[in-house]
């Protein structure tokens, strides 16, 4: 490969090195996620004033919006590592792509459920075929398709490559779905509500939101580390370094 990629990045691509690296990174990311999450929750639930139109109901956005961002962000990460996995056939990229999918699906599920809890009062119903909600549902189906395809294969690496291909098809599909759902929504004029205009958010509402966003990013890093570690152990179970770890764990 080209020489501009630093050597440590090559080393990080090898499973035992990444296993150790992820093990070191994991607790720090969890601690950071918990601390930042606590600060954001305090800021969002206690310090931020009630919204003059929505009262206290708007406080759902402090979990809803960061989760929605994470749902899309994780899909992006998954697609990039899927591309790397298909082009350069790096085992670690396959593992990262496949272990990102359940986390992304979890965040998308949170987005849908909290969105519908918010919608109960905004729209007067649990579910409405709003453009954003519908796109989010399609995103969840994309995630489930990737997870389902991965587990349908008996050979794990082959399944990972097929699912990576599906993830790449999906990333072309996401903007098309969003565009078409928007078009469909203007065709059937339903109850579209502008959730927030450009200037309705004050600073005291924005900083908890951004802090929560960073906290969810850290949580993703934590969860990805532990998932990749567990998966590497299963994938490389015949190798010496895994045997060593198994022996160490039983000695303790």
């Amino acid at each position: 490969m080209s020489s501009w990629i630093p050597l440590w990045l090559h080393k990080l691509g090898s499973p035992p090195t990444f296993y150790r690296f992820a093990g070191k990174l994991r607790p720090w990311m969890l601690a950071l996620a918990i601390v930042l999450g606590m600060i954001a929750l305090y800021g969002g639930l206690v310090l931020a004033p009630p919204d003059y139109q929505q009262g206290d109901d708007y406080r759902i956005i402090f979990v809803h919006v960061p989760s929605a961002w994470m749902g899309l962000f994780i899909y992006g990460v998954m697609a990039v590592s899927a591309f790397i996995a298909l082009v350069w056939r790096i085992k670690l990229a396959e593992v990262v792509a496949m272990e990102s999918a359940p986390i992304g699906a979890a965040f998308t599920l949170i987005t849908l459920v909290t969105g519908s809890l918010w919608g109960v009062r905004m729209w007067g119903t649990w579910w409405t075929w709003d453009a954003r909600l519908t796109s989010e549902l399609v995103l969840l189906f994309l995630y489930l398709g990737v997870i389902g395809l991965y587990h349908a294969f008996e050979d794990r690496r082959q399944g990972a490559r097929a699912a990576a291909f599906l993830a790449l098809i999906g990333i072309i599909n996401v903007p098309i779905v969003h565009f078409s759902v928007n078009w469909w929504n203007t065709l059937h004029q339903g109850s579209t509500v502008r959730l927030f205009g450009p200037s309705t958010m004050s600073g005291s509402m924005i900083w908890p939101l951004l802090t929560m966003m960073v906290a969810t990013k850290c949580y993703y890093a934590f969860s990805l580390c532990s998932r990749v570690r567990a998966d590497l152990l299963a994938l490389e179970s015949g190798k010496d370094w895994v045997r060593q770890i198994a022996a160490e764990e039983s000695a303790r």
Binding site: F141, G145, L149, A152, D155, Q158, S180, W183, L187
Partner: protein, 228 residues
Amino acid sequence: MSQAPLGRACAAVLRRDLTLAWRRRGDIAMPVLYALIVTTLFPFALGPENALLQRIAGGAVLVTVLLAMLLALDGMFRSDIEDGSLEQLVLAPQPLALMLGMKILAHWLTTALPLIVIAPMLASMLQLPSTVIPVLLLALALATPMLSLLGAVLVALTAGTRRSGMLLALMLLPLCVPVVIFAAGALAAAQQGLPWIAPIAWLGAALALALVLAPLGCAAALRIALDA
């Protein structure tokens, strides 16, 4: 090895698939029968009011055709994988994407074309006004090849797995959302007497894109799925 010219190879693949389909004529009738049954059930579930049926007719026919195609999609490459002829096709000197394109064409001719032929009848059963039927046929003529092409990529991806029926539906849903939206949008516009050319044009553009990209994607997916 002497290489057969491309045109002859394409024609051979097409003829082989059509012959195989003709020998199992019963299978061609299955999606048609399925669409007929589903359409019959709608009035029983919703009541026989003409106004109500007329309102849902376009969308109902579209979704019925889509589900009927999904039913047949699963078997697109199955017999070829089982008897090993698909692997021969992968090894053949001719470009795999083109050969798969021919297979997709054969599949479309044997499953979607009969559905398009009976679509006017299904639409009339649900009281769709006869002025809208040409638009329905046009929308179906553009939407069903899209579904065949997109479906072929997904079927190729699941070629290495044993059970794929439900998984295929789950994977196809996000891909066919835009197709359904634009096809149904054209029908709704035509029914309200509005100009319907814009969504049809979008469908046509998407079909042109899929015609070029889907066979290539299908070939890449098949190489991944068969590479053991």
